[in-house]
Amino acid sequence: MTAFQSWSAGRHLRTTLAMLAVCAAPAVLHGQATVSGKVTSANQPLADARVLVRGTSLTAQTNAAGQYTLRDVPIGAQSIQVLRVGYRAQTSSVTLAAGDIKTIDFVMDAAIVQLPDIVTTATGQQRRVELGNAVANLGDVTKRVEESPVTNITDLMVAKSAGVTILPGNETGSSPVVRIRGTNSLSLNNAPIYVVDGVRMISASVGVATGGTTTSFLNDLNPQDIEDIEIVKGPSAATLYGTDAANGVILITTKKGKAGASRWSFYAEGGGVDDRNKYADQYASFGHNAAGAPTRCVLETIALKQCTQDSLTSFNPLRDQSISPVHLGHRDQYGANVSGGTDAVRYFISGDLENEIGPIKMPSFARAFLDSVGDPARDNEINPEAFQRQTVRANLSAAISPTLDISANSGWTNRNQRLPQSDNNSVSIIGTALKNPGFRPNTALCSASAAACLGYTGLGSLGEDLRGYGNFMPAQTFQDKLEEGVQRFTGNLDANWRPLSWMQNQATVGVDVASRDDWELCKLNQCPNTGTTREGFVSDQHSINRNFSAKFISNSSWQARSWANLKTTVGTEYNNVESDNTASSATQLPPGAQNVGQGAIKNGSNQLQTANKTLGLYVQEQAGLRDRLFLTAAVRSDQNSAFGTNFQNVLYPKLSASWLLSDESFFPKYGWLDQLRLRSAYGASGVQPGATTALQTFSAVTRSINTTTPGNATGTDTPSLLAAALGNPDLKPETSAELEAGFESRLFSNRATIDFTYYHKKTKDAIIAQPIASSAAPSATTITGNFGSVLNTGVEATLTLTMLDRRNFGWDMTLNGSHNSNKILTLGVDKTGAPNATIGTGVTRDSVGLPANGWFFQPYTFSDKNGDGLIDDSEVNVSPNTIYMGYSQPRDIISVQNGFDLLQRKLRFTFLLDYKGGYSLLNQTVQFYCANQPTCYEETNANAPLWRQARNIAQRYTSTKTQIGYLENGQFWRLRELSAVVALPNAISNRLRARDASLVFAARNLHLWTKYTGADPEANYTTGDVQTDFETVSPPTYLTFRLNLHY
């Protein structure tokens, strides 16, 4: 044992003893009894109800017959409680003697408001009332999936929870961006982590060769398999999830088997995927100059009397169906699952097949062109936006003995997808269309006289007919094939051992392994004629992501007094998040070649294996006083492989209190107030540095040089070294500490609930890649350290209302709203010790006292001084000073969901409105084309309002240029979801031999209200913190039909 190991072991022993001292409320062994019974509602057995002995860790779940059994129940006075979503909790008191076998039946009443009373925490399942922090639960996920337009996990979560900002993927199978309670980190990823059945899930986005749009491992999850999703929003709740949990935790529980006869579910879904976005028209102003020569006018030259407009035309290949690459896509999905078993062994098995073809398709004229040159398009070229996924899941649970349960959960996913060339990309399908000349060209005329077509020849560099596209025609851009294949296994073994009535131990071991292959191909003489592309190139990249998770939790409870219950938890958790990557590519392919080995020039790289390993240990003590006041104290200690060598471990404390105030005798009783609970929590958690950030490194490169005769014109590829990262041995995790407080209330006979939370989250030791001045001749442009501090404060509120609850008509409503304020408190100090005021020189910067990634521009003023209705550069005045211009992330989020039950509840109609506001968005697509092309609206069309003319002048014609005119209010309202669910008549169900059947019509992204002048304020390709709309395919509209059959 090294000195360090010896020291470390001794230190942990001391830590443990200290923790034992904290464990002031241990458990006491009792005698044992058995309680069993049946839970019913409306004379029907009620399955899946949770029966628990309050103040202990004993729980049971009712089977399909509504029956339950609680063994090893401590003797004495006990309170048995039954909880189930959609029903009012029932409690029964009983006094037990040793060896008693008692029967207690419960009759449950349906509750109007449906909030889950049991939530999943790091230490196991707990009653919601015991928690001092807010936990968002998506409710009945099965119902949501069956009855709304859900194609992926993002669709499930978007606009469902206050404080959770979700930017859905913009293309079929692309990556979403999820942020919770603002931006914590200035350099690290601000995305939450995901845990599936206790296993840390691979959730990364994957950069692929599109120009921006990425794929995501999140899309491997099949929503049909999910039982429950909980969103742990911040460090106050995520403390025991430790390092990497500061940005929140998404807890996903997959469906498990229920005791009883086999229950089958089948579903089939089909529908359309439609890109209904209004991509910008382009214009051409045909005119003549002072000498009478024909020329293209733009507003600046018209205003300066240098050009006189004769006619104005417009054109948009994206809206012209004869040449557009935008068409109606389609999707279909089929699946089945079966659940059942006995009290001893239960199973859930499912299978699912999903296909989606996105709206981007090769236009027919391009296909005809390829046919004409003897290179007919293949399906992967015709439909470059495609997604296919097969999933299989088998979850088994077994009660080995009355004290030991074991479950094995496993899921397999096979995903294949393609993405089109889009975004910030010289061969972007959107970009090449937007480069049109502003009129539908007559190719024969234009190729004969470019001057007659304002310089547009109508022909590409290979002599092909562009049909109005810019430099490349779709036949070529669609030949760039980009495919990704993922095979993934997620599984865990979970053992739950209750050796004593007061003790429950849980061990979980699991893996998430994903094998990914990304492949891009341009065969010889295919793809756009740029660079060496048409010589043929292929790139093939294989990667393996492996997450290994193991944890052990021991819960002990003690009824210290009749009014006081204490619960002690100790636990440890280990996570190893690993990945490695091998990439190869080749250029100069012979005819027909498609793989790297066939190319003349080959390149290969083996990306460094990265591993980020965390070992945590925690202890928690919880006291329940009179089952009204719940106090919790906990601490977690983490060690991590990415910490600097001078930093060993980090401690995360937690304190929380929950008080059922309305249950107190002194609290006045109001008829309208059913329950009022106050809660508050304080906790910390962190985010670890990147796997190698703390290390000083050198990089290996190959250079073409001649070492014998320096400067010889004939070089030799020579292995070389370069100093790379500077490292930082003092690097430690960012630590976010959060205080939240709020209340939950149920009103008007549970017809309404209000949930309000205020949070104050301060991130210290924020990891910042602090720029190093180039003049210091550094090997890296930044040095990473714990320099910063960021504050997020905000409020969240959820209101659920049952407006009407009649037999023939019901109306329920859920409103979520949140507001976030983000402020950078410190950015460290410079070499002289003076505080850094700002980091960054671009249009987004981090500046003390302002929000992270704030917008910075030089403002301008304008006026039409001569009153000619045109703005020229003399009428625009750009300020020399760059100033802060606002948030780049939404601050205000509102969602409104309404549900209407009609026709004796045989028809349910719901819609969901989603609002985001309080931020600005740089309309880079329009900005870019106005800066570079003579065809944009405000460059050419005299009908453009003055403010649009001015913003173009300010970025294009003034001596000092600024793009601020394209920084627009990102605010929007979107009709996010619309669905109608029809319960099919029994006659039809019976004919199908089904227990019940329903038909669903659903729509997603059906309508948008916004003043944003781009195609869509949710157009985005980046997974970073600042949304980027640049030649980006905008989110599509989904219209689907679905049949659900239950047996």
Binding site: H12, S556, R703, T708, A713, L726, S779, T841
Partner: protein, 458 residues
């Protein structure tokens, strides 16, 4: 068992579980679980050897070359950006930064200029690091390579001084920590570079081909620095020993880096060769690199550029992996011609230039094909100056010397900016801007002594 005993038992049991977990976390197992920290990282311990020092030398030479003209995707180097800034090239691209450089309106926040400046400074740092390792691990056997590192540092600092304003700092990074220094006036940067060149020359005393090649590169660099400082006669003496055919070139290959000019022109058509006229009419002061049809700058008309609107003229000097001379004997001849210009020996100057025209030296692997008619000796200093800089512009086309020469015409030859730089209407929008050189980018503000441009003098 009474209540206390039960309590004690529960404490013991829970504690035992906790202790077990703690031992798991705290003992040897912990180290296994958290190690190795990162397999495969090249750490400082791997580099501390003679072969490591040679590896760093190779890397530094590569960085130096790439900072000037190495191709890497859609990013350019100082020779290219400066080519846009002058009349050598025009932007046929959609990048606003390239259009700004072409228009001479580049701002301090420019997102293309900043990495170019950083690349030059990083190249300087790579050479310093290599020099440190060579001195430590090959103190007596690496004189030529050490001298070459002085050459790369001197040349890089000269390039910085020629293309950026007063206000360049020459700091260093030691043991992972930046050491910032005060910004310097251009003449002080040039003087610093001259010192590096002399240090290199002191080491390059061998007679083997490698050492001689480095010595010649140092002499050319020193000569150019002396010209920049107005020491024309000394400069001529310095470059005298360098053969006309000598060249220190950057080599390229498809598995490393392609020639940066080929990428930005032939491959992507983002840069078009400049000319003296465009859609706006005649461009004042711009040389006719296209319409002159000079065999030293062969061009080809090929549709429109990357922006789909600018008429594109491709360069015919460099193919994909053709080498490009960084320093050569031609440069030495031009130094000598300029020395003649400054002594009033216009005939001598013309004779040197005509000798070059009669027998064009090879540059990289390019030799002009076609007739270059002899020049007539100019009668006046003004004409001689114009002739010299025109000749030099064609000889050194695309090799990063034009901006320094435009600037020197203002600084050393008494011309005004509107007599030297492209002036008037800019073909994409507005008019040419006022800049004479690139500003020091805002990125350097992390230097507490940052001042930006100290002044706007040439």
């Amino acid at each position: 068992m009474n209540k206390f005993q039960r309590h004690l038992r529960s404490v013991t049991t829970t504690g035992a579980v906790g202790l077990g977990l703690a031992l798991l976390a705290g003992c040897n197992v912990k180290d296994e679980l958290l190690a190795p920290q990162q397999p495969g990282v090249i750490s400082p311990g791997d580099v501390g050897s003679p072969i490591g020092a040679e590896g760093l030398y190779n890397g530094a030479v590569g960085n130096f070359k790439n900072s000037l003209i190495g191709g890497s995707g859609n990013t350019e180097t100082i020779w290219q950006f400066a080519g846009l800034f002058t009349d050598e090239f025009r932007s046929s691209d959609t990048f606003s930064q390239r259009n700004d450089a072409d228009q001479r309106t580049t701002q301090t926040t420019d997102q293309q200029l900043s990495p170019i400046y950083t690349s030059l400074q990083t190249a300087r740092g790579s050479s310093r690091t290599a020099l440190t390792y060579l001195r430590q691990f090959e103190p007596t056997t690496s004189n030529a390579h050490q001298a070459e590192m002085f050459f790369t540092i001197a040349f890089t600092e000269m390039q910085l001084a020629e293309d950026f304003c007063d206000g360049i700092a020459l700091g260093e990074t030691v043991n992972g920590l930046p050491v910032y220094t005060a910004p310097l006036a251009t003449k002080d940067v040039l003087a610093a570079a001259l010192t590096r060149a002399d240090s290199g020359l002191a080491l390059a005393t061998g007679t083997d081909a490698g050492t001689v090649a480095v010595r010649n590169a140092l002499l050319i660099t020193k000569g150019r620095l002396q010209v920049d400082l107005g020491q024309y006669a000394a400069a001529a003496a310095t470059v005298g020993p360098v053969p006309v055919a000598y060249q220190y070139a950057a080599a390229f290959s498809q598995t490393t880096n392609d020639n940066g000019w080929w990428i930005m022109t032939t491959s992507t058509k983002r840069y078009s060769v400049g000319d003296s006229a465009d859609a706006t009419g005649t461009i004042k002061n711009a040389l006719p690199f296209v319409s002159a049809k000079d065999p030293r700058v062969p061009t080809t008309r090929n549709g429109t550029g990357f922006d789909s609107t600018t008429p594109y003229f491709g360069q015919g000097i460099w193919n994909r992996d053709d080498p490009i001379a960084i320093a050569n004997g031609l440069d030495g001849q031009l130094v000598q011609a300029e020395a003649k210009l400054n002594t009033g020996d216009f005939a001598g100057m013309t004779a040197i230039l005509n000798t070059l025209r009669a027998t064009p030296p090879i540059q990289g692997i390019f030799t002009p094909t076609g007739t270059l008619v002899p020049l007539t000796t100019p009668a006046t200093k003004t004409d001689a100056t114009s002739l010299f800089f025109r000749e030099k512009a064609f000889w050194t086309f695309g090799r990063g010397q034009r901006l320094g020469d435009l600037r020197r015409q203002v600084r050393q030859y008494g011309r005004t900016i509107d007599q030297v730089y492209p002036t008037g209407a800019f073909f994409k929008n507005g008019t040419y801007g006022p800049l004479m050189f690139f500003p020091v980018p805002d990125r350097d503000k992390a230097n507490p002594q940052f001042t930006g441009c100290l002044d706007q003098t040439p």
